[in-house]
Symmetry: C2
């Protein structure tokens, strides 16, 4: 019965993208709903993706000098209130703990929505001299934001993420770290998740509560919508002043240090699904796939078939993440399951293949079937995995490149946003009123002011017609 | 100034063990206090220990078929209340969230103190047939229990742990898994943390709220006190019945599945400190030490010294966790810091050593100094790390073995508990009244009814003199 469910067809993308997404997350058993409203359960297949993201990204972090710590889950209200913009940004969407151990708390505490305030509270105790700088701490944890509408991986009341919080001697050092971490994110998405992104700066309306600058990487989903995939913030010395963090500088005088923070979350699993998935289900990039090669025996009861399959797993492909599916289900079911779960390569081996000393290799991304000599698997499969990884990136890159339009006037802008799935490049005067107007008219928001390809395409704001200040990439977003 | 603090002497163990412990956790920079009452901050040196524990233990788990998941942080009150014993055990010590997103919640939710109820809520949805069993899920997360008195790593309002939750077809399968995981814990402590433990069963008074049996591993700290270091629970089908979890069995009839849970927490960092530490600070077992070898250059400004140090790091000892301390501090400070932080091996290399083609190797555990040819380091150090690992275990094993006493009457029992740091083996009638009496008289509690060495030593209860049922290991505990 379970087999049956797995191969029932899912809604096609073109018919209903939102329903397709929901079908995939359920049928690939990535998550389940819980009776805790707005929270989700990460099932083994979904959590394994996060484990692989963590492990690769953590290594990239540590190569840049990041040290991991763990801070408390709770923030006392007085601590949250120390930085004015920050509390205004987050207070409306926090959850409050008001009772503990059978008693009403003297001061209520929120469950962390983000931990700038807690890190500042620590840094105040441990930063005294320029010799104590920089501090480059990160934590992997869950945070809580009381969202009204939720969606698996994309928006839920609790989500998993990492949050880096650093302190520096100078504003330049802080700016360098802010950009450095944005680049770590972009490289990770490109090289490991096969997801191209646009790097840029957020407008003031879209920046983080309390930051002087927020940088972002924006990815494009299959339906042309944007997914903000990682952000990096430069706080200047605003929090440091609010929290009274001071250090003795090289000049023997007291200074406030400069701060950054940067975060990336389980939203990325949503991006993986919506960038690479197809009507058969998930398509996972080899670097991140919990199972890279799924070996499916044909006529597995025949003598020698399972032996060869296990030999492929243990001998030819040792070092790769290989699974032999020797369960009591038909090959057809197994194929459908492997395709739904998005494992990059399937190898089919039956008695006739063994006679011929070969097997069938099927690529999940292109569905291409290739006959390969068993004796060549050891060389062939690792190289095919890299080919798939690269091809998946190139396809996503093509899609992004071909889905960015340019608008010179507002009619054209509205038409493009309405009719063409994708982003629109257009000039902007810098006023939040125009951002609000564009959002009201089209539901599109400013995704970023891109670092590259930002040469003016006109001298007028697309919305109000006044002098343009920035080229902005606009799009509908998750 | 920071150097200075590091080498200030700490309180000696014999003078004041509790103060020694506090000094070590602070001076080795394992943790810091936070302004969130009862919660602690894991600093990089402390969190790195947890990362290594996680990584080794997670591998051991997965070898037994465990799959990781992530469940919500919150438990609605109605869900917590479904199993009667469980809610009675935990309700008094939970923290309640009563407001979210600016509104009072319709139903308050507690921050998970443990997640049996959430896992049951999931299992009810995904277990329908015997083919869906067993389910062997685990999560790494933090939990909250509103403790009145707290102590770094040993007892805090929030702590990090893993909690495994499994479901099985039969009570025997559940019992096997309960014992299997206890053995995984004991092997991990023995082989990786160099900590010997006593395995046994908890009395009803000490067992987990809602379990039919709780098994424990009990370690002995340097001061003779016990630290419960991991527990594994068999729940029978009590929760399954309370939550209405049913599956169609091989007999085509409906059954309730049988459940286990097992957990191990950041308390273990406390155990590492109190089992192996000495008056110079931490002593870390090589398997778990974030830095295994600390290379300290002598006269580092002299030509070639740092080059050789880095060659030792990158070439001779590649594959090990090696740090070259080339900071601008005196060798004496560096030695003291390495000893405080407990790195297993220090290598000292100066110009004269280089001339002689040798270096000084210092063991942290024994403080022994050995002159070793540079050309032999590559062979010597990995083998010395294993020797240290084994010697540390043997020393701890000796301490445990020589600190277990036997009492045949209550006067002797009280004398031993009072005068001899360690455990006392004595017979017990099985009544909770005697446990309560013993605790009132001596502050000692029943640690466990051991699996091994449980032959009766008398036929009378040590406390009431009635017929004895079990041999129990008693001790004062953290």
């Amino acid at each position: 019965m379970k087999d049956k469910k797995m191969v029932e067809s899912i809604t096609s993308m073109d018919e209903d993208f939102a329903q397709w997404y929901t079908d995939v997350v359920k049928k690939a058993e990535l998550m389940d709903y819980s009776s805790v409203k707005g929270c989700m359960i990460f099932l083994p297949a979904g959590y394994a993706l996060w484990e692989n993201i963590q492990s690769i990204l953590d290594k990239r972090f540590k190569e840049t000098g990041v040290e991991n710590v763990y801070m408390p889950l709770f923030i006392p209200e007085s601590l949250l209130q120390k930085e004015k913009d920050h509390v205004e940004g987050f207070a409306p969407e926090v959850a409050w703990v008001t009772e503990g151990g059978g008693e009403k708390l003297e001061e209520r505490m929120c469950v962390r929505p983000t931990s700038e305030t807690l890190f500042c509270d620590l840094y105040k105790n441990i930063i005294h001299s320029y010799r104590d700088l920089p501090k480059i701490f990160n934590q992997w944890c869950s945070v809580v934001r009381w969202e009204k509408t939720t969606r698996p991986f994309l928006r839920s009341r609790e989500f998993l993420w990492q949050e880096g919080h650093t302190m520096h001697e100078t504003l330049e050092d802080a700016e360098d770290r802010t950009v450095q971490m944005l680049n770590v994110y972009a490289d990770f998405l490109k090289e490991d998740l096969a997801i191209p992104t646009i790097k840029g700066r957020k407008t003031d309306k879209e920046k983080f509560a309390g930051a002087i600058a927020t940088y972002t990487i924006e990815a494009m989903m299959h339906d042309g919508k944007a997914l903000q995939s990682g952000t990096s913030h430069n706080f200047g010395d605003g929090f440091a002043k609010a929290f009274g963090i001071e250090y003795t500088g090289r000049d023997n005088k007291l200074h406030n240090p400069f701060q950054t923070s940067w975060g990336l979350s389980t939203r990325l699993i949503g991006a993986l699904i919506m960038v690479h998935g197809d009507d058969r289900g998930l398509v996972l990039p080899p670097h991140i796939a919990p199972t890279q090669v799924d070996v499916v025996p044909i006529q597995q009861q025949k003598e020698g078939v399972l032996d060869i399959c296990h030999k492929v797993e243990k001998e030819y492909l040792s070092g790769l993440r290989v699974k032999v599916d020797d369960s009591e289900r038909s090959p057809g079911f197994k194929f459908a399951e492997q395709e739904m779960r998005g494992f990059p390569i399937r190898i089919e081996i039956g008695p006739r293949d063994i006679e011929n000393g070969e097997c069938i290799v099927v690529r999940r991304d292109s569905l291409e079937k290739i006959t390969v000599k068993l004796s060549e698997l050891k060389e062939y499969i690792p190289s095919l995995l890299e080919t798939i990884q690269n091809d998946m990136y190139e396809r996503a890159r093509d899609h992004l490149d071909h889905s960015i339009y340019e608008a010179k006037d507002y009619e054209e802008f509205k038409h493009l946003i309405d009719e063409k799935p994708g982003f629109v490049r257009a000039m902007w005067c810098g006023d939040v009123e125009c951002e609000d107007q564009i959002k009201a008219d089209t539901t599109a928001t400013s995704r970023c002011m891109p670092f590259e390809g930002n040469e003016p395409i006109s001298d007028k704001c697309i919305c109000c017609g006044k002098a343009a200040k920035h080229l902005v990439i606009w799009g509908k977003a998750y």
